[in-house]
Symmetry: C2
Subunit: 552 residues, 2 copies
């Protein structure tokens, strides 16, 4: 076989169609025994030595500059003929791509909500892709749609804990929607606010509802000038985006101030609702979003109070538990999310603390009829009366990720997830104590779940800050901000450890640049955390303090 | 080892955190050699004998009633302890789930746009999931984001064919957006109309644009009562959904009549625009959507004329090529999509005619600055000036599906895809000829690409129809509709072959129930198609005609 021309017969149609053997080369199986052997070797490494494989291959290079990497990928033409065999492509990914990818699964990578996943998740993803089911409709998924309903009911029960008869009634009822899978938390939040918007501006008299007639017509019919969504200042940016997409206006997603523990200030919330609902304003609060695990600080809003306020004012209460949701599986810590069972809708991400591969958001509804407000039908699928799951979802075609989550729940049990959750929360606590014990650091937001923020604050600067006047303090704060921006970048570029950074904006205080750590990798222990802090001190000494250019 | 208690140490936290060996069981590798051996066997079957595996395991059971399947999946509790080992879960999927899933990869499954995928796609999906990159931001993807830009440029060039300097300038420029990956075509269409809406109602004077201030404020500022989107009567339902989501109103996504070839009637389009833009109406056309491969009929709208009309009227022209897009890779047939290069935005799906696993939609923009209208920033990621891809996309976190598409283009070449496309178009033509040659069938819409619709129309009924008056014809048509509904269901339930059905609504004609075939599986040949038609005739003879209950 001429290996210079890997798929020789592909250039002639007759052979592809008529010649089974040729077709098999691209569609059915590896082209020869040598390729198969090479592929088996790669796949064994990936499937049965995932973490060793990642340690060995991913992100191993020191920072190749972005500019340099960018110059390598500037080919805008698709070649007419195949350029590589599958084996060479896989080899290329492993040898040329992976070294410049990010080793998010390293226990030293504690900067984002993307972390190590259990090896078996890759097995489940593989079998899911092989089955190639599409749960938008029963005709392309069948039992997989039914299984999805079961998974949705399990998570719904974890949140809402309705009684047995409730689940018996709704679990497989085509007209009930306990929840819906989406690609991510952004789309889950969008779906929740979409439902809230449509429920609020429902049909009335000759008005056929906001979904059909649009926002302008809806506001006019109901006699309002605008409607708003209220969420904590720490609310995820996807909420603003949802407001923009839904025609509400991103500026009408209004931040509520947080208290000193970074939780929504409910006195402030009450007051804002009162102000907005004054008749003279012609404004209305469409929904309040409480956070269960803020992206930046991991903090949990006072959900019971928010629920109460929403009930009093008949406002849709959405809980964004994209991050914190799986905490409900820990008997020890589920009380941290108390009040979530009163939310009208809840977002939870699968690819976060369910440790799934990318691409699994979920939204849940307390009322199994709520999603009727977003129902769509078509003539060729999702016909009225059908059991197709695509009737009430933002997406059409999508992967059957429920198969992965359902299987993972069987393999891990609630107890398995609980251990991971508890490890994260308890390690974060120890991490916070470690920070507080070091003179070079300041804990900025203590962990309520498993996220904390802190900053390097050199004692000499802190001393000056403590004795300084307002102007002086402002100046020092700004300097400390620059130190932390530089520190985070230098540590990232050194390639061993990674924490992220963000800027906290707090009432009556200067903007504070903080280092942000997310503890979800069970291999991240205090030994590693101390190393990360040591490295930060070392970077400060060697590269920042001595450079004398803190304002860089 | 006690196999009744597969992960015994998981019930005690200390051991998970402290005991490396225990942790490895759930996170790092199979718990013992026997499990590993069993898993290797399964994975080899899936990865290297995909199509045999699917033939052997998937959808092999005759129709187990939905009710019966539904009764099997009614467990709403998550067990505290693990219930199964990975090996047993995989075994369960293969032995209990797969037989009741749908064998979408069978060459006899020609009813939907979900079909066989090449075996190597599963390999690529596996490695993508193992790397677990998240292209929302560079910090969790790095080179993968850069690679994604290259893939986007390749498809952009396939559509728009700008010159070399254009791609040199934009391919890796952080401020340019040639396109964006989404989970599916619905979200791609939504993104395109989101951009169109925001570009139309951009900031003006004190008005900060529709994204910030919402639809009601936008219409008021611009002095309109409503805005509309026009698309062919055969436009995908996701366009109505996008209108609903975006606050435009689904009823303001207005169908344009089609001509006798199921293509948008551009005289009708011109007239509608004229009517709507009459000053007295205070309405405005926001966008016109032309279809390149209608979901139901595979037809292609007259894109050059639509482009001309949009240019004259300064209206955003979106091309929904979710299905037909990859036809551009066939030199032989790319002219069928002529005019698409004039579209302001284009939707193409990866999981359709790029034969990728589920979960890959894409939207492309002629103007690399167009997506600025949907930009979002946050403090912890996608900061202004960053190269994070999440700045201009509907989704946040998502899988790096670009890695799959980029690799597939290398393995297949444009030529490889062209062969698949050409096989589909040419087989559909032969299929149509076969239908026309059979007295029991009527071709309803001839294939322009690789989709056609037809119906069983028994000669005795056709004869009566031809000589009947209007009332009589209506009655016969209704009877034929019922025959085809029943026929499609009985054939699906028999479990060997699958065509879908839809209802075509045409001006001045009765609603027509048709059988719909999509030819994308390269293993689907005329021999199989004749078998499918034979089976349909047989079902009619044995189960429909003789039952004497055609109106069932």
């Amino acid at each position: 076989m001429n290996t210079d021309n890997p798929i020789p017969a592909m250039t002639e149609k007759k052979e592809l169609v008529a010649n089974w053997e040729t077709l098999e080369r691209i569609f059915i199986r590896p082209e020869d025994e040598a390729s198969r052997t090479a592929l088996v070797k790669y796949m064994e490494q990936i499937l049965f030595g995932l973490h060793d494989f990642l340690r060995k291959h991913v992100g191993i290079t020191r920072e190749a500059s972005l500019e340099e990497l960018s110059r390598r990928f500037t080919e805008s033409r698709i070649s007419r003929n195949p350029r590589k065999k599958l084996t060479d492509v896989i080899k290329g990914i492993i040898e040329e791509i992976a070294p410049h990818a990010v080793n998010v699964t390293s226990p030293y990578f504690i900067g984002h909500m993307t972390s190590a996943i259990p090896f078996f998740m890759v097995h489940l993803q593989t079998i899911m892709s092989a089955l190639h089911q599409n749960p938008v409709k029963l005709e392309t998924s069948k039992v997989v749609s039914i299984l999805e309903r079961q998974v949705l009911a399990k998570i719904h029960r974890t949140i809402y804990n309705q009684d047995e008869s409730f689940y018996e009634k709704h679990i497989q009822a085509p007209e009930s929607t306990l929840g819906s899978f989406t690609d991510d938390g952004t789309l889950a939040n969008l779906t929740a606010l979409w439902v809230a918007r449509n429920a609020f501006f429902r049909s009335r008299g000759r008005f056929r509802g906001v979904e059909e007639e649009g926002m302008a017509c809806a506001l006019k019919t109901y006699g309002y000038d605008r409607c708003v969504v209220l969420t904590s200042r720490l609310g995820h940016y996807s909420l603003r985006k949802a407001g923009g997409v839904l025609g509400i206006g991103s500026a009408n997603v209004i931040p509520v101030e947080v208290d000193r523990n970074s939780r929504m200030d409910t006195r402030c919330l009450r007051q804002m609702i009162r102000e907005i609902h004054k008749d003279s304003q012609k404004s209305r609060v469409l929904a309040v979003v409480g956070i269960a695990g803020a992206t930046e600080t991991g903090t949990v809003d006072p959900l019971p109070e928010i629920a109460e306020i929403c009930a009093e004012n008949r406002i849709h209460f959405h809980a964004d538990a994209a991050w914190g949701g799986p905490t409900l599986l820990s008997e020890k810590y589920r009380s941290l999310l108390q009040g979530i069972e009163q939310a009208d809708s809840v977002t939870i991400d699968g690819h976060k603390q369910f440790y799934m591969p990318m691409g699994c958001g979920m939204v849940y509804f307390k009322d199994p009829g709520a999603a009727d407000h977003i129902a769509y039908h078509a003539a060729y699928v999702i016909r009225p009366g059908s059991v197709d799951l695509g009737i009430r979802s933002i997406e059409g075609s999508r992967a059957a990720t429920s198969l992965i989550l359902g299987s993972a729940l069987e393999i891990m049990g609630a107890g398995g997830y609980a251990l991971l959750i508890e490890h994260g929360i308890e390690t974060a606590k120890e991490f916070a104590a470690e920070i507080s014990s070091r003179p070079f650091f300041e804990l900025v937001t203590a962990p309520q779940l498993n996220i904390l923020t802190y900053r390097l604050f050199p004692p000499e600067l802190r001393e000056k800050w403590e004795t300084g006047d307002r102007e002086k303090r402002k100046k020092i704060n700004s300097e400390v901000n620059q130190i932390n921006i530089l520190l985070q970048r230098l540590q990232r570029e050194a390639g061993k450890s990674f924490v992220s950074r963000t800027t906290l904006r707090r009432k009556n205080r200067e903007d504070t640049v903080v280092l942000r750590s997310v503890i979800m990798n069970p291999m991240t222990d205090m030994h590693i955390i101390r190393e990360i802090l040591d490295e930060q001190e070392e970077i400060y000494y060697s590269h920042i303090q001595t450079s004398g250019n803190c304002s860089e």
